[in-house]
Symmetry: D2
Subunit: 308 residues, 4 copies
């Protein structure tokens, strides 16, 4: 299939199920993929932050992309993160994930190294020049500690360097600037990474959403997307309210015991395990596992929102 | 050779010379190694931030360690960074650099992923358990956006998990807490990463220094180290003053054109090129190269401090 | 008049016009007040960040509140900021602005002093206990470097300590948590401080908006508020688009010459001056004044959005 | 007396004892002043961060300066903070504290308002032009969230705008740049605000120190200063080690119960109370008071370092 231009709809950042030994659990991964595809999602984003890309070895990253692209066989677009610190290392990942079948790559600003606007521009230009597939910018300041300026992204959109942006900055005003600017660049895709204001992002014109919580409740996000597209804002708000209530699973863990990443990724996997989609709720090291009591809280939240 | 316990002295974070095509320039790397060893440095730190580890591919990282360890043949200890986001990825680098001959590994807190004290502890424990060589903690908040708490580091020192710490936090009060606490852990090595307060760090009891500027002027830092060890504080202060003046090369570039990383790493390489140690001053992408005018400024600073 | 419970509608943070000598220009202030009231705004917020409260002396702050409350004579609710570092200093401002006629006070988390959740709670409790009028929390992390947690605000709402919140955090997902939680606290008012996503905030249930840009175009925000209340989202989005385009006045100044505060507050005043509402566009010291060329750019943006 | 140029020696930021009702306890304040003067300190800094200036009302601030300057009667220089958000408000404090007898004013960068290099320069120029006494810059990023660049401070020193700098940034490398640059500006005073690296700051040429802990142990800091001036580095390091151990009182409180400010200021006052210097250990609101158990820990630390 050709990569859609623009990409629209619900594109979950797919969790990476692991075995108790922290190897990729391919059977669970394919079961999760099926669970998402059957719910009607419009694309899959592998190796994003929710996929624990930061924790997967190069071998595991390849394994994930190969397994999923083979499984979906072109039914829907598959994007893959090429998450690394700087241009040369990202280029290696681009080569690897595209060889494994990814139809677009998702790339952050440089991190670890202190960066600069001119360096970010050069970074994306070099990657786009070398990539056999479209490049989507991944704006995730909480991880890389740099916010991609809207005018930079739109400039690169205009030059054909970027095919889209996934905005996980939480800054809806800045995202709106992207959406408004993108009207001049048909084919450029604006995707929100927010679980909690998906309706608002779609209402102001976003092409789609990449919500981590869609692993747990893909039907909910697909419904929400359709309601927004149909301008049924009343229904959309009710659905979004339900999803916001469900998002409380990500803070069910004790913040004195673990960081917010362990809590959120652990919650997604615990919920998928409780719902019978994956075999083991383990997260990668050095994340702290949820306790039985914390998992119990998640079960209650799933039940309260009709998912268990 | 056995890895010294504690490691002491001047341990430059070795720059990684590149060809104009951005491949590792092994001949220049070995010439730089010789330049450092002949100046009397006490160890070499490969694949640190100054070495552009964040920019080197896995293949290039291996190449650097193999070339240098073969060249120095055990004359002096060689440490190598295992710089990556999380435990599983760091473990891959540990395996790779130790196979290539590194005698200790240098490891930061997790980054990209949001982290937590308990996760940092688990990270170091897992890595030490798997590493065939000693593990040195690398405290570099400007890169990883987390400061390693002194009591955490000292606790891991007491448990035999960490063999030392390289402190690039710039926070001398916190470093003093490490040095004072390390008195109870003979064999644990406290190394300052600061070019500008090396004398102060040694005066308060640091075991050694890992100054990026020692690439450019290893003789200066070796003299400074000896003066401090001899408690000749008058001479040390004069030497440190000279080195502080030389450090101005790292801000010779126009901050409107590039970030502070490009400016500093570019300056080290420009200086090494001007001094005839390396063949090409290129830095890795996406860093911005220095202009002719900026390089000229560096040449003047080298001349003013007697290095050209 | 009784203070409305909850306060709803458009409540502009009123600019404080100054003379060339940087004294409060009371005539211009009252003209601006009239301009806002005639446009149909639902309340006035004096001594907020947009009012340059941080720059006004205690004498000037009193002067502003006295002049405006006397002028509007209870036609519509008047809130006043009591912006200072800690509880005792805020209490002095509360006494002063309520003596001068303010019907509610708006209070941030402590700043300058490092703070803590327990201290923020105690801060608001003490202020509410001493204040003769309702207390509204002002969440403005860009100024005070602390984000008010939603559960803290809602807890204080439940206890009757807080009458509302003005959210200038830019974090719509967190604001949604406030709005959703506030359903259990009828009378508690949720106000967005964002100019750019006012429609989105109202769509998800906010009671009102406190947009700085409403000084320049109060009719626009009043229209937008009515469209949102009427659920005419099509019209609202078009109006919001127009207001977003107008907001470009806040970045018309050269960022190399001044900070974003000087640029934004200078732009609001330049626009009010160009529109004939105030006599002098001066901002308080040490802010940098806009140049003629920068003001020219603002005039063009006003013309383009139909305001000149 | 004329204000010394440069100011040198130990200049404690004087705690402000409060009554249980949170009024200034003038008798205790004068007892504390006597305790410091008799220990041989070289100046007094009122209304700094350690003095809880951020918590004192304008009336209380005046009261503090009047009481202390009358008491010391010109025996030693008295500086006072003029801590507020922006130029006009700082100017009011300058007028007030100099009327009350302060011989120099200490002024931070603007805060709350977002600032810019050009604005900081203008801020200091305006204040120096209006101040009847010398102006000392107060570099305290943890409070104002801006670091004063060394070249900015040195430029204003060269222009006669600034008479000195109090550096509470914790960044010794940047402080060294100030000290080195100040050699060209005789009369300009470089003062470190650090309790923990006072010896290091003096060793590299600082004129003096402003350590909060000197409230508790002025004799220790006076000894340390003399040892450093006599270049008796061995003795200085031992004294500094003792003071570092004593500084543990500032972290004796439970960080889950209060912020680091409450813990440190509470500890200084608890120690002064335990040593019989002040009548009541209360800190201003909204700070959290230390528990009996936490105070007990402080008593033990005082005993261990020979102060009780």
């Amino acid at each position: 299939m050709t990569f859609p231009s623009p990409l629209t709809g619900v594109v979950p950042p797919v969790c990476t199920p692991l075995t108790p030994e922290r190897e990729v659990d391919v059977r669970s991964l394919l079961r999760l993929t099926g669970h998402l595809v059957e719910a009607g999602v419009h694309g899959l984003f592998l190796l994003g932050s929710t996929s624990e890309a930061a924790f997967l070895t190069d071998r595991q990253r390849r394994q994930v992309v190969e397994a999923v692209t083979a499984h979906v066989g072109g039914q829907l677009p598959v994007l893959a993160g090429a998450i690394d610190m700087t241009t040369p290392r990202v280029l290696d990942h681009v080569a690897s994930v595209t060889a494994a079948g990814a139809q677009a790559v998702v790339v952050t600003a440089p991190f670890y190294a202190r960066t600069h606007r001119a360096e970010i521009v050069h970074h994306y230009r070099r990657i786009a020049a070398a990539s056999p597939v479209p490049v989507v910018a991944y704006d995730i300041p909480v991880a890389v500690h740099t916010k991609l300026p809207a005018d930079l992204v739109l400039g690169l959109a205009g030059d054909g360097v970027l095919a889209g942006v996934k905005d996980s900055s939480g800054d809806l005003a800045a995202f709106r600037e992207l959406v408004t600017g993108a009207r001049s660049h048909p084919g450029f895709s604006t995707l929100t990474g927010s679980e909690l204001i998906t309706d608002a992002a779609l209402a102001l014109g976003a092409d789609g959403a990449v919500p981590g919580l869609a692993n747990v409740d893909p039907h909910g996000y697909v419904r929400l997307y359709r309601q927004c597209r149909a301008a049924d804002w009343e229904a959309a708000r009710a659905e979004q309210d339900r999803l916001c209530a469900l998002f409380a699973i990500t803070t069910a863990a004790d913040p004195a015991r673990m960081g917010p990443g362990s809590a959120a990724l652990g919650a997604f996997k615990a919920a998928l395990h409780l719902r019978g989609v994956i075999d083991c709720p383990a997260t990668a090291e050095p994340q702290v596992p949820l306790s039985g009591e914390e998992t119990e809280r998640i079960a209650k939240l799933l039940a309260a929102t009709g998912l268990l």
